[in-house]
Amino acid sequence: MKSGTGQAVGSVEAPARAAVRTTDLVKTYPAVRSRRGSPAAPAVRATDGVSLQVRRGEVFGLLGPNGAGKSTLVRQLTGLLRPDSGAVDLLGHDVVRHPERAARLLAYLSQDSSALDELTVSLAIETTARLRGLAPRAARRTRDEVLVELELGALAGRPLNRLSGGQRRLACVGAALAGERPLLVLDEPTTGMDPVARRAVWAAVDRRRERDGCTVLLVTHNVIEAETVLDRVAVLDRGRVIACDTPGGLKALVGDDVRLELVWRDRPPLEVPRIAELRAEATVTGRRWTLRLPPRTARETVTSVTTGPAFAALDDFTLATPSLEDVYLALGGRTEGLVKA
């Protein structure tokens, strides 16, 4: 989709200015006392000393499973939530001290669409553009452009809550893109979308980056998407950044190991000695075995499972180079909750 993954990482050569910079950001949600019907919850450090720097013009991702602290971090960047301590700098503005400035610097796509739900797609986009400070004529023009850009024309007159999940999400992306902003903060923008809609979204985002030098901060738990669209990615787990690099750089951390997945038709043919050996190394999920192997061993294993009685019992297999999911796992993160689609 784009280049940029090859740029130097951790280099002292700084770009003109960071678009987003957080310094030692901490946010703790207080403990909840137990009430009737709801158990007590201990205090949660949702953001635990996060220091990040997003360069201008890059597509930067926050990757992690649900509950990793991605949304809490984003809410602090957008001025919606005041951190307990630490600093947030957006394009040269201190957003902790002046949270109201965030709205004049960024466009934010939240996960929730309830503010727009009962509006038509067209009115949702136009109203958002108006509230972003555009004059009536400019707002209408922007609305028309966004409708064409995201191929929403056919849905323009329908209220958001009568659309499918993916279509509604696309309309919300449309509202987020209405009115120019140097920084786009998108919280899981493509959830529920079909591939056509996804492509339209990434094309629109790319256009803004190339035309206006937009910086994009993307929250995702979709590892495949993260690999394809991000310039750099910060991996979050339990409120901490456990790694931050290009997707390629992160994958290099895992080394050369490849992932072999075997899916058995019925039950694994354990009577085959090689299969019995593999069982000890595999992560078993129902009929599926996941193995992380050096490339040479993987090749040999593929040969042995695709011949003889093992092949008869085999339903499917995949051999893949490391993904961000493997990185996440190697870094000690909990992998449940990451989406591979």
Partner: protein, 312 residues
């Protein structure tokens, strides 16, 4: 950068004094040391590329802020969107509100013969339509918006809090107009009251609407849970029903005090006075004045509640 273009060409330094007065010490570089005092280094100076991050940043101006939405245009945009929302989703509820009031009047027809009590019933039933929509439904709307995180949408747009609250309140109040007019006309005919004073609805609906919508918005935005907001809205409407429709003369003393505290009461009184054969316009004006004052206070409190709810 294109941010200034978003607000049109009017984005000038006069409108954004913060661009010039931005205190540089606010921005700390990543290493945590205070930024060096800004030096007038021209961009083209040799060796500039070798500077550290903090040196480079200390002399770059912050990104200009896009122009915020102004109060009245933003209010207009919110009003239009809310009215359209109401049209799509709330028409059945307006029918409910209107039929409820018509039903109450038909019921009271058997008890009340005419005179002051009939005027109180018609005025109370008419304002009840406003209470149903502006208080009850608005409390529910803001309660749900707050609980679901929908307020984030508005909070991350550069829009004044008053625009969101007044726009929504205004739209909900306007939405009641057909129901109120129908109720008032039907009631006047039913009880044989003169129709000549009904023009006063032009003032009663917006003023009672402001007072009740402000109350509804405050309840919705302050309730910790959406269900509580719904409950408060329902209770508020029940209060408007009992204290507004039942003639004040028949209520016990403590309940009458409660009635005086309810913001809709003054709208009811004004409308009742206007339904007299020879209305005392002075009294109508005083009641409307009180209603306006309550409305102002109520909307101010609602705006405060919105600000509090939007940024936690």
């Amino acid at each position: 950068m294109s941010a200034t273009a978003a607000g049109g060409a009017r984005t000038t330094d006069e409108r954004h004094p913060e661009r010039r007065t931005e205190p540089r010490t606010e921005r700390l570089p990543a290493d945590g040391h205070p930024a060096a005092a800004p030096r007038p280094v021209p961009h083209g100076e040799p060796g500039a590329e070798r500077e550290t991050v903090s040196d480079t940043e200390s002399r770059i101006e912050p990104e200009p802020l896009a122009a915020p939405a102004r109060l009245w245009p933003a209010l207009g945009a919110v009003y239009r969107a809310q009215l359209s929302r109401a049209r799509f989703a709330r028409i059945p509820l307006l029918f409910v509100a209107t039929f409820q009031s018509l039903g109450i009047m038909i019921l009271m027809r058997g008890v009340v013969d005419g005179g002051a009590e009939a005027r109180a019933v018609v005025a109370g039933a008419s304002v009840l339509v406003v209470a149903f929509v502006a208080l009850n439904l608005l409390a529910q709307y803001f309660g749900q918006l707050r609980a679901s995180g929908g307020l984030d949408h508005f909070a991350t747009l550069p829009v004044p809090a008053a625009s969101v609250v007044l726009g929504a309140a205004g739209a909900y109040a306007s939405f009641t107009v057909p129901g109120v007019v129908l109720t008032a006309v039907f009631g006047s005919v039913l009880f044989g009251l003169p129709l000549g004073g009904l023009w006063v609805l032009v003032a009663v609906v917006p003023l009672a609407g402001a007072a009740l919508a402000g109350l509804g918005a405050t309840l919705g935005l302050s309730a910790p849970r959406a269900e509580l907001a719904t409950l408060c809205g329902q209770l508020g409407m029940s209060a408007a029903l009992l204290l507004g429709v039942l003639p004040a003369g028949r209520l016990p003393e403590p309940v009458r005090w409660l009635r005086d505290l309810l913001p809709s009461t003054y709208g009811v009184e004004a409308l009742a006075a206007a339904l007299e054969p020879v209305p005392e316009w002075g009294r109508v004006a005083v009641d409307l004045g009180v209603c306006a004052a309550v409305g102002l206070v109520s909307l101010t409190v609602a705006t405060w509640a919105y600000r509090r709810a939007a940024v936690r």
